[in-house]
Symmetry: C2
Subunit: 164 residues, 2 copies
């Protein structure tokens, strides 16, 4: 059976969480899960280029069916918000320019889809990610778990059923 790769991305410049699910079949499972890191001491353009090169490697290994990205909100730290915005721009433009469908989800949509509670805390989300993906422990660092939650949200929403 052909595989269908669904991406979840939690954009960031220092740490960008990614998760690739194989979503064909009844139970999606993670085929790649981790974070892209860039060095805070490097100039921003170099860091963005490093992120882009890493992302392209992942795209080459697991050609995506669709990409889900956490929608960037301005409630958080203004200093880090710019890096998050730049990173999300890089990931979304590269994906969409390849003709891949890209969809954004708000943090509350992700919590709602994964735990059934739009106000769930991080620990609850991580536990559900561990359960749904049958992992031995919650993914670390948290950015990887967030990326997995975003990918699971996209699978749930596009399947028209809850992820639970």
């Amino acid at each position: 059976m052909e595989r269908m790769f669904v991406y979840g991305l939690d954009p960031g410049l220092s740490r960008c969480g990614y998760c690739v699910l194989d979503a064909r079949g009844r139970d999606p499972h993670a085929v790649a899960l981790g974070v892209f890191r860039t060095e805070p001491h490097l100039p921003v353009p170099e860091r963005l280029a490093e992120l882009l090169v890493d992302f392209r490697s992942l795209l080459a290994e697991f050609p995506p069916h669709s990409v889900a990205v956490e929608r960037v909100l301005f409630q958080s730290n203004v200093r880090t918000a710019m890096g998050v915005g730049q990173a999300s721009g890089v990931l979304m433009a590269e994906s969409a320019a390849r003709g891949v469908s890209v969809r954004e989800y708000s943090p509350n949509e992700v919590k709602q889809a994964v735990t059934g509670d739009g106000a769930a805390d991080k620990a609850q989300v991580q536990q559900m990610v561990q359960l749904l993906l049958r992992l031995p422990a919650p993914p670390r660092p948290a950015d990887a778990a967030d990326a997995a939650a975003i990918a699971l949200t996209h699978v749930a929403v596009t399947a028209g059923v809850g992820a639970r």
Copy 2:
């Protein structure tokens, strides 16, 4: 004489100003000047992809020696700031991933370099751009003039002399 293309970019999602200067020789002149536009009613990933495709076309026509980008600040409208950040991320990552040197300049650095006054207003900057590039009128829209000012700043700074 071989040409040396220096880019100035004023990032934005609705309108992204660009200017390509041929900076070889005594007097830089513009070989491309305008704005990339995307439709506000389209989803953000599609708009970013359109910007990326347009930017790649420009890069193919005028292979850059270096790229100067206006540094995104958070003093402005929060709703538009995210689009500006995402657009700047796309442009900087694409450039730097090709091995092109990318440098950011603050609005005040640009005003200082182009007019000699870090507190100059937009009209003064536009007049100096018109003068320095020997244009029949200030570039329109303003985003194109801003992009030209950024490119002129980079030429001035890297030449170690003022643009005037």
